[in-house]
Assembly symmetry: C2
Homo-oligomer: 479 residues x 2
């Protein structure tokens, strides 16, 4: 009896039977009650600790179900014999060997920690949205529509390729407003552009394959292609995006990853002629083009430029779009428009590695589009972001005249500033942080080593006075 030495805490939320169960279990695992030992009867234990007999029986029953003890009719309850306990074994943590892919993850990846507590007072972070612009009241209403016990939709697994009405709404929207030519069947919903790129790379590329990219360019896409063991063939962009004329004649790239509507992060659109030449190159070299239209909707003059995908006549272009920039980033919903030949491989692959996106969100976005909220919201966004961009440019002209260079395109959510060569990029970022201003180094976006110093200024999360004040403080550092 004394060998059990239970400590029951009657003030705890943890029921007494669980306390008895837990302590007996730990004692057995630690070898403190030897295998084969006969436990006190439930009556004895109940008396000894002043608890109800049913409490002890409950604990014994759970221990028996889990295999710690067994009952022999008429003889009592015994600790299971021959338990292969590791109590004596030193518990040296196991460090599993990583695959070659795993080693690349460790070399390329970043830890997913949220940046440390101190958010800068004025944060020119890229890709953030401004909460006051999004119509959360509409969104709440659309979500609530499906959150009812009368609706069986949420109690089933969704479709791997995506919620069909959303695919239809997107196909219609993309044709009308982005110049994309597709049917709903070619539209597949993904969690993000990153997932789309990952599945495409796995489906189409082998280690050692060449991938044409822009520099500066989207660093997360670089990381992804590197993760697959691909070689990056980076062409430095000019004011008009990807420089097709500079593709080397002997280039064997199997894929070109480009941002034709608004080059990321430098800015600037790829002219029609260059787009047609790129398509011609792809046709000649049996290559695929991935068009990342991450913010094509956000142009502040004219209508958005038509997508490269619309010029494709033989299924060479994969078009990527996202709701992160035009709805809100935490939504985690993007889409890919696939050439017909890739639909089945892509959907099958997605079904094997990730199933579908949450149905509720997809249904709400579908209604948001078909009921006209999306285009109305885009109008608001264009106005709001256009003004913010103007405020940024005005502040740059006022406080830093002639000191920085940037592409003048009226588009996007950020401006990339190229600084004069003698500026120390890292030092500037640090000094800005000390002045309460978050600006982001341009270095990581460049594949080439000798990139001129640059910084990224996202303006979508800031109000106009904050933008002006931020630039004023930046200029003070320069002085």
């Amino acid at each position: 009896m004394t060998l059990l030495a239970l400590h029951l805490d009657r003030t705890s939320d943890n029921p007494l039977y669980l306390q008895i169960y837990d302590q007996l279990k730990m004692a057995i695992l630690a070898g403190k009650i030897a295998p084969g030992t006969r436990l006190p009867s439930s009556r004895q234990l109940a008396q000894a600790y002043g608890v109800g007999r049913i409490t002890v029986t409950q604990a014994y029953r759970q221990l028996e179900m889990e295999g710690y003890v067994y009952g022999r009719t008429g003889a009592g309850t015994f600790v299971t014999d021959d338990l292969p306990l590791s109590a004596g074994a030193a518990a040296v943590p196991f460090v599993p060997a990583l695959s070659a892919w795993g080693e690349r993850v460790m070399a390329i990846g970043k830890d997913g920690r949220t940046p440390s507590g101190l958010r800068p007072e004025i944060d020119f972070g890229f890709g953030r949205s401004f909460p006051h612009i999004f119509p959360y009241d509409v969104w709440r209403r659309l979500l609530a529509r499906y959150l009812s016990t009368d609706d069986a939709m949420l109690s089933r697994y969704g479709s791997v390729a995506g919620f069909y009405p959303l695919r239809q709404a997107l196909a219609d929207y993309l044709q009308r407003l982005r110049g994309v030519r597709c049917t709903a069947g070619q539209v597949v919903i993904v969690s993000g552009v990153q997932q789309a790129l990952d599945i495409l790379a796995r489906l189409l590329l082998a280690a050692g394959d060449g991938v044409l990219v822009e520099t500066p360019g989207y660093v997360d896409a670089f990381a992804l292609f590197r993760l697959h063991g691909c070689r990056l063939l980076a062409l430095p962009v000019g004011a008009h995006g990807f420089p097709v004329a500079q593709i080397p004649a002997d280039c064997r790239a199997r894929l070109a990853y480009v941002t034709p509507s608004n080059q990321f992060p430098r800015g600037g659109a790829m002219p029609l002629k260059a787009q047609l030449v790129l398509l011609q190159w792809a046709r000649q070299h049996k290559a695929l083009i991935v068009e990342d239209d991450y913010d094509g909707e956000l142009r502040y003059e004219g209508r958005p430029l038509a997508a490269l995908q619309g010029l494709d006549t033989d299924g060479r272009v994969v078009y990527l779009g996202t709701f992160s920039k035009v709805l809100f980033p935490a939504l985690r919903l993007s889409y890919v428009v696939l050439p017909r030949a890739l639909v089945t491989p892509f959907v099958r692959a997605k079904g094997l590695v990730d199933r579908g996106a949450p149905t509720l969100t997809q249904a709400a976005v579908a209604d948001f589009i078909t009921e006209g909220h999306f285009e109305r919201h885009l109008k608001h966004l264009r106005q709001a972001y256009g003004q913010r961009r103007q405020a940024l440019v005005a502040a740059l002209e006022r406080y830093l005249p002639g000191k920085v260079q940037y592409v003048a395109a009226l588009a996007g959510l950020h401006v990339m500033l190229y600084l004069s060569p003698q500026v120390d990029e890292a030092q500037l970022v640090q000094e800005a942080a000390q002045a309460g201003v978050g600006v982001y180094p341009g270095r990581p976006y460049h594949v080439q080593e000798d990139a001129p110093p640059s910084i990224l200024l996202g303006f979508s999360g800031l109000a106009e006075p904050e933008i002006e004040e931020g630039i004023r403080r930046l200029a003070a550092i320069w002085a």
Copy 2:
């Protein structure tokens, strides 16, 4: 002028400037207006078609921005020269070559189509939830809490490893109620168990590596390991789950994938001794154990069995859990509890291939847990599903006495029926469908070729009278 031959539709929703833009663009791409051609002046075109001059200017401006035309001061607007048009080229669809992985996807994967229109009247589909049990009113309230313009949370990208309050809530819950030993830092949120398995396989396994699995077992996990080129070493389970004693002495498996709390799909729990032997085997063979606790919460007597992970002393066990079964499938939220050594590789990998799960859903689930709704809901589920299971078993005893075998464990969302060897499984499934009853073949869950005929009956989406009626109809087929 006549060469333009525009057809303007004044009744269309499409603005006139866009109609002009679209038709000129198509004509240029098709080579119908030759490169270098001078377009009519905006005044001429406006007069000819009876539209405002600003309409034409808008169309020309968009064409110019996209590179179709260019303006020469004083001379007019010209179609861009030297456009490399492919109008003449035959548009044979491009079929890109797939990687080895892509070829395996095509061999293993299924098309993600929703099953064809006809849903059976009584559907014993697995893993569906019963909409009337879930507290959608609570859920709506929790979501609405974060859907406000005052809350900046949704306008930022979330954390890759998951929303921290949810990781904390899960760590607490798993320790208290599932016997898992972990800190919040070891809990990572994923879109589904499939994503967790995919990342683990990529991090840890190479093509040709052996993986120990149960047969019958979780067919989607089989598919995933096969997709990675792994060899499946399948051990046939008995009434007590994974048969550790049958692991061959020369087994070189690097990973064992098991369902100790309730073997999927056969049912039955792995006794403590077998769990300890498996841990010992893993220690001796430098192998990892993946514990898929897909429905461990759903036991209808006693409390849920403690997880194998809680017995692990040196970081060999990866624990997988999901909200699909206990909240609703369309939620797409699961979690993985990682040994400390795997946290950084896993989170970095997830950051590279998929970022984080939607913040809103995660925040709502966190509140659902910490405010006590989750445990209350689990109680309701246990009662509701326990009764449904009882109804199913009662119907089997009544209508099919002695004709079928199944594991009697009071747990889970389905029962796997083993039929007598002379029954033709596929024919039974088909005849059941004709009688309006959806039952699912057991064959795909078995790795071995000579598996006895079996069917899966999920009961979680059906009311008790439907369950009885379904079994009555099944029995009529047998007769």
